[in-house]
Symmetry: C2
Subunit: 279 residues, 2 copies
């Protein structure tokens, strides 16, 4: 373990899972959460060795500070840390605004674990959540601390990937934020159809269910992510809208020829993801 | 069991699962498949008591004939059955063209189990596949045979739902065919992004994976379904395209206000589906 004492600010799904994984890897974990009930629950789940009473106290008691907070709280915490000199990482889903807000911290590394569940909170936390997952590190971080953070990420079972913050944000627009938008748009369409005909729910099979898993994620968590990554995401959403317009136009002429190559591309992408997951 | 001897034409995922479930429920099951290897595999899996050598022989040996075939093969088999007088059902995903093609059969009931898997074939067959699933019956079927088919469906663990064929097709456009189109369009978009930047796959998390599960389904099975239901589906695909265009336009202005109500509607629809699944 590259750090002996890990401080985790925010012990929800990601922070709680990280705490469980870090304890398993041999670290002492100290937690802080603005919600005392969540902090109690994290202790009860065995995620924490100790609890701190403030972010500053947490930072001073540890040799790695992890901000496992929603985007707005991450930005606020970075401001509160003033001239804190120790290693700090965040785990937010957008990197450019976070990295920009952390310029005053000499040992900050913006990171993003590609792991999660549709249901958040400490009760969903799982020490194996990061196993095999990609976990990005911002390419602009100082090399010394970045190397230690990469080792920490590996100790949690994840695969470190160094990537520029803007490139990260452009890619996750397509790989993470676009799927979320699609699940939401599909769920809203189902709600509209079900309002017209109450049998719609009974006519949903396992396909619709798997496509709506992400629709459980709360807007409260997503709003800041989508806003922070609005422009790259807009490009992907519009590309998908154009693709659907073309498919609809074909279907209106009872033509499905357009769909063959799309099915082939999509099956290839899906197989390729499974191959990566099995690495 | 409302029928003692069930004939299953096509022992892939649905036919094989039906055969396994019907045997568990106490029926004798006779199978037929144009692929002898599939028929052998179905026997090896314990799905069949006997095998027939032709569709006609199968029909004459049973007191319920189940056509568990792709849409084009279902339509062809209905033609081949000439003036067959016994009870016949199909399980295809579109009902209006099938019901129209079966008018010469006095005891035909068009049905559709809302069950499936992204991977087809006899090896994926599972006798519990239909447990708790909705299984539709065409409302235009004669009452006597429809009542017996409803009892058969219940004996397999599914929930019968009597519905008009055109209404069925309009609803499954939204509840089944639209999710398939979205998974394919998303997978094709991911393939395009990955072609530009090879790190896209590594940046996919569990959300993308769940959204691409359906993308494994082969175009060969879907083409006839999508073509047969092209016009109702076009309406749903276009509605989703418009919704995405509006979302993209909002994001280009860095506005996310439009998304709040969509997230709320989608979460409600997703919760409502889970509640149904737990019945």
């Amino acid at each position: 373990m590259s750090f002996a004492r890990i401080g985790v600010a925010g012990v929800g799904l990601i922070g709680g899972s990280l705490a469980l994984a870090a304890r398993t890897a041999g670290a002492v974990v100290i937690g802080f959460d603005t919600d005392p009930a969540v902090l109690d629950r994290a202790r009860a789940r065995g995620a924490l060795d100790e609890a701190a009473t403030s972010l500053r106290a947490l930072a001073n008691a540890t040799d790695l500070l992890v901000l496992a907070l929603p985007v707005p709280a991450t930005l606020a915490a970075l401001g509160d840390l003033d001239s804190f000199a120790g290693p700090v990482i965040d785990v937010a889903s957008v990197k450019a605004p976070v990295v920009a807000a952390a310029r005053h911290l000499p040992q900050f590394v913006g990171t993003h674990p590609l792991a999660g569940r549709e249901r958040g909170g400490i009760d969903a936390a799982d020490g194996t959540l990061f196993r095999g997952a990609t976990w990005t590190l911002d390419a602009s971080a100082p090399a010394g601390v970045a190397t230690r953070i990469a080792a920490f990420i590996e100790s949690l079972g994840a695969q470190p990937l160094v990537i520029d913050a803007a490139e990260h944000d452009r890619l996750v627009a397509a790989t993470s934020h676009l799927p979320q938008i699609l699940a939401v748009a599909l769920g809203a369409r189902l709600a509209a159809v079900a309002a017209e005909d109450g049998r719609a729910g009974a006519l949903c099979g396992p396909g619709m269910r798997s496509m709506l898993r992400l629709a459980h994620s709360p807007f409260g968590l997503w709003e800041a992510i989508l806003r922070a990554n609005a422009r790259p995401l807009a490009r992907d959403v519009r590309a998908l809208a154009h693709s659907l317009e073309a498919i609809a136009a074909g279907l209106e002429r009872e033509e499905t020829a357009l769909l063959g190559p799309l099915f082939a591309d999509a099956a290839r992408a899906a197989r390729s993801l499974e191959a990566e997951a099995n690495v």
